[in-house]
């Protein structure tokens, strides 16, 4: 804590407001600490859709399942394939390809269900195959270049010879499944 001397002086003991101000200042200080931002390391689960490797924060991922029989629900949104039973909990199965604008593809032996949790709701994302778990520093994630500027990308990371499109579950589910309000995030205008 090298920046301690720049904090407000010890507050007057009589005023509780100044204690609050003091605490606020302390809290506000921590994340803005320069030089730390790029060091933050996060883990991502990556999967393939066609030849695109896409990464989701591991904190949003609950488990990976082999595909089982998916029950269709009449009149469900077009990006939803149906429902599966996850240890007694009924979870929507999301056609990730449809959500991200890829051409449809049948489920194969390598297809998996990647179960994610968003705002206490669980979704099973159908992916072509699961790839790996990677660690990425914030500084390693760049703004998507024009040829990869897909609307769902948070950024891209180059790892060895491959390119990973970094995104999050809210962005994938955004099209008609999770509304911007319930994901707690505004729509990029």
């Amino acid at each position: 804590m090298s920046s301690e001397d720049s904090l407000p002086k010890h507050p007057g003991a009589d005023s509780s407001d100044s204690v609050v101000a003091f605490a606020d200042a302390l809290l506000a200080k921590t994340p803005r600490d320069p030089g730390r931002e790029g060091v933050e390391v996060r883990q991502y689960v990556t999967f393939f859709l066609r030849d695109h490797e896409i990464g989701l924060p591991i904190l949003q991922c609950r488990e990976i399942l082999r595909t089982s029989v998916i029950t269709r629900v009449p009149e469900a949104p077009q990006q939803v394939r149906g429902i599966v039973n996850l240890r007694g909990r009924i979870v929507p199965v999301v056609d990730t390809r449809a959500c991200l604008g890829f051409e449809p593809s049948p489920i194969t032996a390598r297809s998996r269900l990647l179960v994610v949790e968003v705002a206490a709701r669980q979704f099973a994302l159908v992916v072509d195959r699961i790839s790996r778990i990677v660690k990425l520093m914030k500084s390693e994630i760049d703004v998507a270049p024009a040829d990869l500027a897909v609307p769902y990308a948070v950024g891209v990371a180059r790892l060895g010879g491959s390119t990973i499109v970094v995104t999050d579950a809210e962005r994938i589910l955004h099209g008609g499944i999770v509304s911007p309000s319930s994901s707690g995030r505004g729509e990029p205008a």
Partner: protein
Amino acid sequence: MEDLFASLVKDFVDETEPLVQKASALVLKLEQASGEATKPLVRSLRGELHTLKGNSAMMGFTPIEKVAHRLEDVCAEMAAEGSAERRAQIQLLLDGCDLLLALIHSALGGGVDPAAAEPFLQRSPQPGANVPGAEPSLAGADVPAPSAPPVTAAVTENDESRGSTRIADDDIDGLLELAGETIVGQIDLTRVHSRLARGRFEPSDIALMDQILLALGRTSRDMRHRLLRLRLAPIAMLFRRFERFVRDLGHERGQTIELAIQGGETAVDRAIISRLYEPLVHIVRNAVAHGVELAPERASSGKPQNAKILLAARLREGRVHVSVADDGRGLDLAAIAAKAKAQGIDSANLSERDVQRLIFQAGLSTASSVSKLAGRGVGLDVVASVVQGLGGSIDVRSTSGRGTMFVLDLPVTVSLQKALIFGVDSETFAIPTGFVVDTLPNREKDLQAINRVLLCSWRGDFVRATDAGRLLGCQGLAEAWARPYAIVMQAGNKRGALLVDWLSGVQEIVVKPLDETFAGCTMIAGATVLAQGRVVPILDCLDVVRRISAALLPEAPEANATEASDDVF
């Protein structure tokens, strides 16, 4: 931070709501009590109000604090029993409790409006001093109409969305023990499994596995049973809300109506309790409007001056029977028959019981004038469909001059229901049996298409029918005519037949809710898991029957059939 505050508000509401309800019940008792008996009542009332005041002050809900404080003041200066001033004070206390509940609920919806309490606080500038007219006038009250408790909507909505339950530590310990048992069972099985996998089978292993499976089965059933029990609450929670309601209904008509409660300790699913309030309000209101006679009429037919309404609950064969009875004049069969005739229903050949049941049809209200209480001709049909939606049924019994009794036959829990399983094309669905009136073989000669409307003949009548595969969007080519079975359903007063490929027996299913992703799928009420983990959607019969009665055959190949039948007419 916001989440923390929201959870504090939730706790606040959970804690204070029962306080106000208790206070409200105390005021009602106070109204009846006299002499020494009133003192402990006033004391506990002040206690409840004081706690509420403290809790609200802590949360910064000043309007609630102020109202509670004002009511405390009123308690401190209760006027002499029997005086008009006393009656006004009682009314003020009751209205104050209503307002408190409304304010508490508004805290959930984002905050308490500081202005909301002002009219009330101004209405009683000095407690006991000058309440206008000194007459307990309900119409003059500045709070929402007291006869329809303002909390209605808030409570029913929030009970479901909040969905929290207090659990005793003992219950949690018991469940943890059971969970531990299942893990022990799993370890035992793993041991046997690894022996078998290495090809070292011992004859005693079969007996050992039998034993483990038996224990696991017992443990998991016990665990589910205990968990289900956690969802239950005494139905008195629901019944007590009617004490005030019945009193106000009586006062509006200038008479005293007593409410009797039986079987309040009967345990019922909280979800049922919260959804049963509206239907019961309707039935009780009807009982007063149509059944209970005014004092002179009661006197001339030799009945006690005070009318009586009974709310009762009891368990019967694993279901709950909730009844609402009054000691009024009974159903007016002649009037019902006349109304039915005006609607084109001939009741001449119906039994007395069936004529009585006509009141569940839409548009049949026998109140001769439209009053505030009843007579709008909507209601009992809606009540019937709500009850069906809970997996129950409703019936009425009435004896002329003696009274009327409504009986609601309900499941103890909504998460367990009996359902009929059917299949169409390659898909499987479940229908709660409460909606199924009949299943029959579908023969082509029983189907008839008139102007693209498909009709199925059933018990000498015609029921609108539709192909289940087409309605539910299944991938199949079969036509309505080719389906081997018809399921006749009734929801409210509407009937409809679904034409399906196969039926399997009725079975008990665990109803699981669907994610809000499926909010637009109005034909589906939830899902259940059958043997081998197969997930099956449960139909929402209210919507399915509505769709059947609007469904038309497609223009194309059936056009010939339409023309053919046009020729006949």
